[in-house]
Subunit: 301 residues, 2 copies
């Protein structure tokens, strides 16, 4: 695979892993994001500024685009007004990319696009009926981009992320907050933990996205492990490695009424059309995550 | 009904009729569009310029918004890149409207949002699967706006226009072009005309939108007559009034393969929840349209 890929959000949780994964596939990788990385040609630009994003694309003229950037501020991104700004920025970025001769656009969506309730989300058959502004913004953006791509003969795919964990996760999210509490020896009040979620190591998610960029699968592709486990089991797995199981206070917080009992990714397209299989199973993924935090020498903060 | 309504696209085909319809319902009507009208408080602003649209909303502080503005250039709007710009402008306008204390937002969509094929489009049961960029842009915008509205407690409805005809229609559209040919005595090459479409007089469509603005119906509402007639019958109706039936060259143009045999609006919500019934049936609507062009003293041009 040769090509020049622009990665937006390249300094983010997924982006930092996607940059090396794309380099390993032979791409010339250009990154834009909040913090520079030596692993990519780095560009400073605020993608929410129209002139900045257009100049960036015109300068790089990427053949491929992996668009990770979006508002992901923990606790706020579900309802943030920034979701609408990112819709606009994404559509404009796609236009600029197309005008600059771009060939393949891979956007990133979420399991929050689906109507929650099905025991497994299938790209072809599970209806999209998001319950949140974030989910609706992603869903609407994908629909419009697909029509734009079809009209211009642009190759287009949309990776739908489920639940991620792994090295470098910022605070305010389940696994990073749990690791913090367990390493610090402080209480971790949480839900009953019986709800099942599909967790994937962030490096695997990034590798799946790199494979999606390099391939030619079209339309939405779930990016998950294919196996949903009780949240409780994941947290207990962390405690088994870090100690401090007594700090996990299951049931101290109510589970939101909108949270379904299970969220699981159907992975047939990811496996068959993209040809991806995860490197980490959950035990090895938790080992890796805990080792990373230990090597860092401090709890997530 | 009291309130201050901002009408975007107020100088357009529908907007010119919507302004008096809203005034008749007691609204203080503010218009923005390409040409000024004495019937509304007029504001000059380019809604595709972020600062301009935000300043407009901040100045007027409308309680209601009827958002008609969009790219409607005949022959080009189905595929125009401007569709993406209007998505962004619409989402930003909705944010500004909400921030300025707006209470009810009525957007305008299209029968092109639906998966064409059903014998009648029903808001609740017919899937939305647009075949065009225009349809996808409208569909995606509506989905995102609905989530924005739900989050902010904003009252939100979405009028889906079908096929319109009537006074003031610009060239490049079926009825205006046919009137032109019939008045000028020139050939009008057209399809076989057996496809059935739901035609509504533009003044009725505007009245329905005004009723929608003044009411509290939520979500998508088809705005149509509820009756689809063969396009051939409509054109023959024009020729019966204007003469020149021999100029109608049915079958001279192929019907696009994407055109379904029938497009008809289900009007239960429009009738029951909005309480609207058309003023014009087709014969009276054609009488009115032909009389308007005759009084104007020249063919559409």
């Amino acid at each position: 695979m040769s090509g020049r890929v622009l990665v937006t959000g390249a300094a983010g949780f997924v982006g930092r892993h996607a940059v090396p994964a794309l380099r390993a596939r032979g791409f010339e990788v250009h990154g834009v994001g909040r913090a520079a990385s030596a692993e990519a040609h780095w560009h400073a630009a605020d993608l929410l500024v129209p002139e900045a994003r257009r100049a960036l694309v015109a300068e790089i003229r990427p053949s491929h685009l992996l668009h990770l950037a979006w508002d992901a501020e923990p606790g706020r991104y579900w309802t943030s007004a920034r979701n609408l700004d990112w819709v606009a920025a994404t559509l404009d970025l796609a236009q600029a990319f197309t005008a600059a001769g771009g060939r393949r656009f891979v956007g990133v969506g979420s399991c929050a696009e689906y109507a929650w309730g099905a025991p497994r989300f299938d790209e072809a058959t599970t209806p999209c009926r998001p319950a949140t502004l974030y989910g609706a913004a992603k869903d609407g953006t994908r629909r419009i981009l697909a029509a734009h791509a079809a009209q211009h003969g642009l190759s287009f795919a949309w990776g739908r992320l489920f639940y991620l964990y792994g090295p470098g996760e910022r605070r305010g999210r389940l696994v990073s907050d749990a690791v913090h509490a367990l390493m610090a020896g402080t209480a971790f009040p949480t839900s009953h933990g019986r709800q099942c979620r599909d967790f994937l190591h962030v490096a695997d998610a990034a590798e799946a996205l790199a494979a999606l960029v390099a391939g030619d699968a079209s339309g939405p592709v779930n990016i998950g492990s294919g196996t949903a486990i009780p949240v409780r089991a994941l947290l207990e797995g962390l405690a088994a490695r870090l100690g401090g199981a007594e700090h996990l206070d299951f049931g101290a917080r109510p589970l939101s009424a909108t949270e379904p009992p299970i969220i699981a990714a159907g992975t047939r397209i990811l496996t068959e059309a993209v040809g991806f299989r995860p490197h980490f199973d959950l035990p090895r993924g938790l080992d890796d995550t805990v080792a990373w935090w230990r090597a860092r020498g401090s709890a997530p903060g």
